[in-house]
Assembly symmetry: C2
Homo-oligomer: 250 residues x 2
Amino acid sequence: MRLKGTISYDGTSFYGWQMQKGYPTIQSTIEEVLRHITGTDVRISGAGRTDTGVHAFEQVAHFDWNHRLPLEKVALAMNALLPSSVRILKVTEAAPDFHARYDAKSKEYLYRIDPNPVYSPFSYGYALFYPFRIDLDLMRECAKMIEGEHDFAGFQATGTDVVGTVRRMFRVDILPEIPDWATDRRLLGIRFHATGFLRKMVRFLVGTIVEISGGRKDPEDLRIALDRCDRSRAGVPAAARGLFLEKVHY
Amino acid sequence: MRLKGTISYDGTSFYGWQMQKGYPTIQSTIEEVLRHITGTDVRISGAGRTDTGVHAFEQVAHFDWNHRLPLEKVALAMNALLPSSVRILKVTEAAPDFHARYDAKSKEYLYRIDPNPVYSPFSYGYALFYPFRIDLDLMRECAKMIEGEHDFAGFQATGTDVVGTVRRMFRVDILPEIPDWATDRRLLGIRFHATGFLRKMVRFLVGTIVEISGGRKDPEDLRIALDRCDRSRAGVPAAARGLFLEKVHY
């Protein structure tokens, strides 16, 4: 039986989602738990391979289940063994050929920025601390430019070797007032909704937007980076700790 | 020159506010930083002695400043040396006889409860995970009972030896929908505003409210615990990790 799991994790102390020999990853942590429960090797396959330090509100993954433990107990059993930094929000039965990555129609990522003069001890690991000039109108101008279909080859990790680098960006929303835990604190969010994302694409886009909104780059740089896939016009990637995989749509 | 500092901290890895030989506390961490900056011993005195594991959005403390570093640089210098779990939000000049504890007119504490079926990796250390029955009407009934002037002797840590145990509770607010970081998640908050608090008082009150709202105790137990200072009718104290010192009023 193929299962679809929805997973939330704090990526702070993991080397990303995907298995890497000798390093703790979300995937290897979950597979170790599945091995404990089933006594066999169970491979889990995620919708997006989040990088080192990147978080997820709702990652999706599929895995096959051939064990006597009934479906409704799988999430409970996994959560009982997982560290508190990884939670299985739910597990449901999926079509036998369901594939978390190939069947995903689109994904949403949220990038959080703390623009306050002093950061909060509670959000330090979960936002980019940026107490400098931010022009929201320039941010919105960047957001508009990024929307639509583009070749994002100028906004990916170097050394990546993917075949297609064109993605459709449905929306980029600037959220100037997302709540933080302390009642009167607000953070700034940038939400990206696209058919797919290249490696470090959101972090390169955020880095570029932040430099432009702070007056250190021109909106024209973003346009050229997008139109000519010119990496030299893009900014440096923003810190992983501000990034959350928010939702996978099927 | 007497200074007033507003301080936020993540209490997870501290043995509370107050100095304890051999254990890391917020006070000792800040005093060590002040020693580095000034080269002398500077004593810092907080408005409330939060317990092990308790957090603060806005703790207030006073200390004396006889160093050449100008006032406007004190918070910056302290933050540069402090761990990310402790932040000086601001430092201002106070009256020469200002006392953070004795001059405080009232304090607000917020207790956060995660009532969702699965906890969030991001709020686990910052809320009581309680995925069980919670009757909000019963909670509000408890809140009303706690408001007003009471002898809270039945709601304090055993072995405490304070002279007066009467406090005026201005308000107890049940906040059923406080935002969490994941967009569609909500937490439950209980905010207490009183002239002062006994040791573990909020945690005893929350433990009692939660047991009553879950049907495991009767509202009458709370009334008796309040009227007769009967500790046996009160619940067990709720976990420290859900508690935040939110504000000190002067």
